[in-house]
Symmetry: C2
Subunit: 208 residues, 2 copies
DNA sequence: GTCTATATTAGGATAGAC
DNA sequence: GTCTATCCTAATATAGAC
């Protein structure tokens, strides 16, 4: 059975947004890429903003799924690394949001509060993980250090992909989450015990 | 003597760009704000891109001035704090560049290489400072830690202002550099000796 | 559901009078 | 140097036939 036009529009829009930036993608470009007419596009979506909105819905769903970390189980460093990997993959899939964040949130202002909420939840997730590592004796921080660290993790998760494509003059297409995960783990490193630091080294080696 | 129209255009454009984002500022809005005609604006500047270009020139000058750190003098933690303060002030003055970075660099592509160069120089400046702190025995890192740290400092300097205005639902106008400086110093903290960590605490207290 | 053709705007930019 | 009037283009969106 054929994929519905509506879904093809979403897929192609996402790909184009990620590739050249949402503000640079016109509805005409999307329909051209799909070999359909602009009229057809507008039959399926009331506006370009609706396409963005629906992609954001999907993004939000994936994120919420991911960053809901249970508070009552202990999390190993390795699990944390895996979590980061999934997180950076999800971000990469919807990187258009991150690459023009201020612009997009200012033009589609219903998205602002929702994105902010995700940030807060992400921060909370990192906090839960840090606390778990602390309880296990893998990590040592006081409350202020932990808060600054988690804030730094949230910021880095948010902007790493932009920074990475800026400094590595690479194709906007092939994004390797490994460097991001690596950088995030290195933020934890100074607060880990000897064993933890060694684990991180091992993980980074297996990774690249 | 009156300020030249040309300069007033630059000032007002900068203010508007910072306030609502460069992509949202039309040439008509600029001329309206100044109570001059759009024709007058175009008499002084060939295009909107030229205004952006000239503001970028000024930004580049200020930055180059700032991040040229001498390698043969030792730098105290306090001096480093002062340097960061100046850096964040300069970034705040030209925050429109940072807030729509990908977008602006993609539309005015002559700026890309130049911005990248600034990033590299900034990274270099941090490296010089870290090395000096290391020589003074204030800071201890191996080469890899130092590189990851400097990269993290560069990234944070670049995006802190966006992140800050995102998480603190504040006016885009009043930007306090203190939080940014604070966050940057806290990235160094785990690698400092006892005295250094205490100095940072003192500095952050005096600061807020 | 899909097309073609067209309306509507808005933004960047120019011409020519003063 | 400054203004008014206007042009050009590109982008969003709609109408109506098939």
């Amino acid at each position: 059975m054929k994929v519905k036009t509506r879904d093809r529009i979403l897929q192609t829009s996402l790909a184009l947004f990620n590739a050249i930036g949402e503000p640079n993608v016109t509805t005409l470009l999307i329909s051209d890429e799909l070999d359909i007419s602009p009229g057809n596009l507008y039959y399926n979506f009331k506006s370009k903003g609706d396409i963005v909105g629906e992609l954001f819905d999907a993004f939000e769903d994936e994120m919420l799924d991911l960053i809901t970390v249970p508070e009552d189980v202990e999390i190993s460093l390795e699990q944390h690394g895996f979590f980061l990997h999934l997180l950076f993959e999800a971000i990469a899939r919807y990187r258009f949001i991150y690459q023009d964040l201020v612009n997009i949130l200012s033009r589609y202002d219903r998205l602002q509060a929702r994105f902010r909420k995700l940030l807060r939840k992400k921060d909370q997730a990192f906090r839960t993980i840090c606390d778990s590592l602390h309880r296990q004796g893998v990590m040592t921080t006081n409350a202020r250090e932990r808060d600054a660290l988690c804030q730094q993790l949230t910021l880095t998760a948010c902007y790493w992909i932009s920074y990475d494509s800026l400094s590595h003059l690479q194709d906007r297409d092939d994004v390797n989450p490994a460097r991001g995960v690596f950088q995030m783990l290195h933020l934890l490193a100074p607060y880990l015990n000897e064993q933890g630091r060694m684990d991180i080294e091992t993980m980074s080696r297996d990774y690249v």
